[in-house]
């Protein structure tokens, strides 16, 4: 028969075990709570981005949305986001074109393969991956953060209320033209960057002796690399990634609460979110269209 001391000991152990189990349960509950909250908030974020995209598309195809004031906002935004970014795109395209041809030359030497591999490397690397990404980076860096700052400032200084009070829908007047200008600019700048990279790659390749064919042959060879998948990839990648970036910058800015001092925090966050989204969209599209993720065959 157990003594009183032994029974007390057992009770203490049982109590500790129950408390320990409760703590573990509580910790698991908190963990699941956190995971659930994060999942729901991510889902809400993505669904609101998609909702804004759909609303933008619906507004854009409605002729009544294109009042004189909206046309003015769109053209100004296109000028700032697209036309004003041409020179920086040329510079970046030229610099990356040089980097690529130098790297291609190094790899050709290292692997001991023929120079004919240059054209497909240039074409695939540039058109499929680099040009759309660089165009998105240029547009987010130049305009995305600027748009975010401008809209967030308008929200905290009460300008949105002024627009609303005049019967001007901020979605039609502020958001839709900016997102469209983003999409058009990313596409146009991606074409410019790709062309610049090819031209610079050819010129530097010739100087380095990596490319020994004339321009017409080089261009013909590059075009022969073109497949319908490239078109299927290039257009959606530039437009969808551009749309995501534009929507994120506008959405974050329009949802700002507080005072002017909250604006920099919101704009910095929206810039990072837009960049993350662009990379994520590129990865998803690569997997969907080419069935590959980096060098791994997925589909």
């Amino acid at each position: 028969m157990p003594s009183t001391h032994q029974i007390n000991d057992r009770n203490r152990w049982t109590g500790a075990l129950v408390r320990g189990t409760q703590s573990v349960r509580h910790a698991f509950a908190l963990l699941f709570d956190f995971i659930g909250e994060q999942a729901i908030s991510r889902f809400e974020g993505v669904s609101s981005i998609l909702a804004i995209m759909v609303a933008t598309f619906q507004l854009a195809i409605r002729p009544a949305s294109w009042s004189e004031s909206v046309r003015t906002v769109f053209s100004r935004q296109l000028l700032f986001t697209g036309a004003d970014a041409v020179s920086v795109s040329l510079r970046i395209g030229a610099a990356v074109g040089v980097l690529i041809i130098v790297q291609a030359a190094l790899w050709i030497d290292a692997l001991g393969v023929t120079n004919e591999l240059i054209e497909p490397i240039l074409w695939r690397g540039i058109v499929r991956e680099l040009a759309p990404l660089l165009a998105c980076l240029v547009v987010i860096g130049r305009s995305g953060i600027a748009i975010s700052t401008e809209l967030a400032t308008m929200v905290v200084s009460g300008e949105i209320e002024v627009l609303d009070s005049q019967g001007v829908d901020p979605m039609t007047y502020l958001v839709m033209p900016r997102i469209l200008a983003f999409v058009v600019s990313v596409f146009g700048l991606a074409v410019i960057i790709a062309t610049t990279m090819l031209v610079t790659g050819f010129m530097i390749g010739q100087i380095m002796g990596v490319i020994r064919t004339p321009w017409s042959d080089f261009l013909g060879g590059a075009i022969r690399q073109f497949s319908s998948l490239d078109l299927v990839f290039f257009v959606p990648k530039t437009t969808i990634a551009g749309a995501f970036a534009g929507v994120i910058c506008c959405r974050d800015a329009m949802s700002v609460r507080g005072t002017m001092s909250d604006v920099p925090r919101v704009t910095a966050r929206s810039g990072i979110r837009a960049l993350t989204a662009v990379f994520a969209v590129s990865a998803v599209l690569s997997v969907l269209i080419y069935g590959r993720f980096l060098v791994f065959k997925v589909l």
């Binding site: 009042s67 004189e68 909206v70 300008e159 209320e161 002024v162 609303d164 009070s165 019967g167």
Partner: protein
């Protein structure tokens, strides 16, 4: 009998029925079970205390803020039941002079003043004609291409008058329209208000000064005071619309 009632109701531009609102700030005009009916061509002057800010009240009138109780209707359409497109169209027929700065900072003065009209496809020739006409009447300086940040406050205030009055509004909300202006500047505003009321535009004028209330306005002017959330008609009677002279015809 019913025909007369319908005709009279058609005259009503704005109707507040048992409207109460939560306090957006300590300075906001409080509203508790407020009833108000404003008809075409009427001028309603609401006298405010020095620290009372009418911005939230005006936003409720415009359907930008929801009252916690009651209903606000503009042209017999309650804001609550109008869809979002209708709401924007309805607001395009309301001109408003804000108490304080109310400009889109990245637009210049011309773009700001004409934004509402241009956004709602108001004919350009008619718009220009109205700008010329009302600029002259309101004694507003010619529209500049400067941005609002670079324009002095008294000029901005008069541009606000012009912005509110052009584009064929049905209702004008004037929140302390003489703010930042010398009292002698009121004459052209009063004259313009008298003229626009002849075009059946209803006017709500929030004021904090006695000299504004004693101006020579044509027609009937109803005066109210805001006291403890109630609109009390000047003279101490209840705010609820009593039969108007035009109603009894």
């Amino acid at each position: 009998m019913s025909t007369t009632k319908e005709t009279l109701n058609e005259d009503v531009v704005l109707e507040l029925t048992n409207v109460s609102c939560s306090e957006t700030s300590s300075e906001a005009v409080k509203l508790r079970d407020v009833n108000l009916k404003v008809k075409q061509g009427e001028l309603v002057m609401i006298h405010l205390g020095r620290r009372q800010n009418p911005r939230a009240f005006s936003s409720i009138i415009q359907g930008l803020l929801d009252p916690i109780k009651g209903q606000v209707s503009f042209q017999q359409t309650p804001w609550k039941i109008a869809n979002i497109e209708q709401q924007f169209l309805m607001r395009s027929r309301i001109g408003r002079v804000f108490d304080g700065r109310a400009w889109i900072n990245n637009l210049n003065i011309i773009e700001n003043v004409t934004l509402r009209a241009k956004h709602h496809a108001f004919p350009a020739a008619k718009l220009q004609q109205q700008i010329d006409q009302w600029s002259k009447l309101l004694d507003v300086p010619s529209l500049s291409r400067e941005r609002p940040a670079f324009v002095e406050a008294s000029r901005l205030q008069r541009y606000q008058w012009l912005r509110a009055i052009i584009g064929d509004p049905l209702l004008l909300i004037l929140e302390r329209p003489m703010k930042t202006l010398d009292p002698e500047m009121i004459a052209p505003l009063v004259e313009s208000i008298n003229q626009i009321r002849l075009q059946k535009v209803a006017v709500i004028w929030f004021t904090g000064s006695d000299y504004e209330m004693t101006q020579k306005f044509s027609g009937i002017v109803r005066h109210y005071q805001s006291k403890d959330g109630k609109l009390v008609q000047a003279g101490g009677k209840s705010s609820f619309d009593r039969p108007h002279k035009r109603d009894s015809k």
